[in-house]
Symmetry: C2
């Protein structure tokens, strides 16, 4: 099937509802994304309901620049971002929809790589693309490809997770080294004349989330994407009106990320991850949760705790000092996801 | 609440996950879209399942240019487009997600109008925006606002609708005059130095779809958006391998649409509607279906039939001739939805 689609570049007619658009969908998108629920001729598709589980839904837009980076591209990122929002909510990712914005003139070989990576990531993550839409805008009216994805998952009834469940004394965990997605995208831009072997951490966190859900005392999970770990900590502080106390020495950061940050003046605590989760657990459950998490994420760490103190984010530095982490204001890294 | 958001233009920081983005969401989007299911702090939201109904899902991107046109804007259009894809599938529209792409420099007053129209259309259509995402791209990297929406609806079990159910002898109906959305957007561009009082027909077709679902013999419904009525007819011909026979005299087209098309050389049969539906019904049900449809859409007409003949779309002209309608090839009207 793949070989049938012969156009070399996207034209406005690939978005007009006519023959070229039909060929793009039937000959490029549909074969790559094939699954029993996808029907490219239907306005809407029917999905199976699981009566004793809750239906969860999430949505995300993707505008990462460059479109391709070490460790992934905008297609695989759209899957991982969508899967992870469901996973940290305690829902098994099952279905997703995909809205595609294409720029006139985009090379089809590039689009093919993006869709192939998206299809692979979806297959590996156990999520099926069940509906899609394609729009083409004129040259210069978008930056190659933007994607919007909506994820649907199912969660066992009775799972209680959320910011409202977090209490003073609870502990924070992170599932692995932070900032690798942000640093990899940064390097891929080559704006800084740097090249490294740094790869994005983009991946499904559903295995980690599922492992933690077996632990009594799990309160809250989140994937630290835009704004990084520091931004998740600020959300926690604001929602709970407690202080978030982080230990700098405990936070895993790889040497390449540290080097890039030092060189360019970025703080890794604000860099996006796309394959990590932050969890809050009751103090008495912390060691059990860490053990469960390390079964699937060996580099997981306990990194801090919630304290009964005015809402702020405090970092205990490696030198024994305390540093208040500000909420992100200006945007050091636009177009990261 | 509305008055709290004081920024005048969108900046990259409105998309970075930090303070400005939080304010945009909490102070502009959330108050406008408020409903019991929306939780702007959550990664994913839980939705009620209706056990004896089917879950239907659809997705669409919106890039209409200009962003505002007589009869609507990109916000209300996103609601109507989403609602209508569910409606023509026989599902009651209930929930939607919204992914927003904003261009740096966009005026907030403009964004406010778009979101207000979106909120009004959602309220009028009985659909709740339950989850959202915002991305900001640099100046020149998108055309003001793009939206992607995913709709979720519920359909009674046992409804059988679709291209597979269409048979030779079946009749075609349209719920009202065609091409008004396309013509209105065309005029709003002012590329042609024309102004008219033509308004987009954009609206929910759920009342019409519901009326038809009460009729035994309903086979298929579709909203004729990109590519218009002619494109829906081509989809029917291709899927059924039958000929679609349309009667030019029976197809309702308003005088202003005819004038615009004559002047500019467009064919109204290919112009988008955003508030009409095309239905296929068994021959013996045709009069009953027309009666039911006219209760809610007084200008509905029987416009043609499916014939046992090689797959093509044939128009019986007002002068007694027959004209084969081609499948849309080039794009006369990009960025119509």
């Amino acid at each position: 099937m793949h070989l049938r689609f012969r156009d070399s570049h996207i034209s406005l007619a690939h978005g007009n509802g006519g023959r070229l658009m039909r060929e793009l969908i039937e000959e490029l998108f549909a074969p790559a994304l094939k699954n029993p629920h996808l029907d490219t001729r239907a306005d809407a598709v029917a999905l199976p309901i699981e009566a004793n589980r809750e239906l969860l839904v999430t949505t995300d837009g993707f505008t990462v620049q460059p479109l391709e980076f070490p460790g992934g591209n905008i297609g695989s990122l759209a899957v991982h971002g969508t899967v992870n929002d469901l996973a940290v909510s305690g829902a098994e990712p099952r279905f997703m929809t995909l809205s595609i914005f294409l720029e006139e003139g985009l090379e089809i070989v590039r689009l093919r790589r993006v869709i192939a990576a998206l299809a692979d990531a979806a297959r590996d993550s156990g999520i099926a693309v069940v509906a899609g839409d394609t729009k083409v805008v004129g040259r210069g009216d978008c930056d190659g490809i933007y994607l919007a994805a909506t994820g649907i998952g199912f969660r066992p009834r009775g799972v209680r997770l959320g910011l409202d469940h977090v209490r003073a004394g609870d502990r924070l965990l992170v599932s692995g080294p932070i900032g690798e997605h942000g640093a990899a995208v940064l390097l891929a831009r080559q704006e800084f004349g740097l090249r490294g072997d740094l790869k994005s951490d983009a991946a499904s966190v559903w295995p980690q989330a599922r492992a933690l859900m077996a632990v009594a005392g799990l309160r809250f999970m989140r994937d630290p994407t835009r704004g990084g770990l520091a931004t998740v900590a600020h959300e926690l502080a604001r929602a709970t009106q407690l202080s978030v106390h982080l230990s700098e020495q405990a936070i895993p950061i790889s040497d390449p990320v540290l080097s890039v940050c030092e060189l360019l003046g970025f703080d890794p605590l604000y860099l996006a991850c796309e394959g990590r989760l932050v969890a809050v657990v009751a103090a008495e459950a912390a060691e059990g949760a860490l053990g469960a998490l390390r079964e699937v994420a060996p580099e997981a760490m306990l990194i801090g705790e919630m304290r009964q103190a005015p809402p702020q984010v405090v970092l205990a530095t490696a030198f024994g000092g305390l540093r208040a982490l500000d909420e992100l204001e200006d945007d050091p890294l636009p177009r990261i996801c």
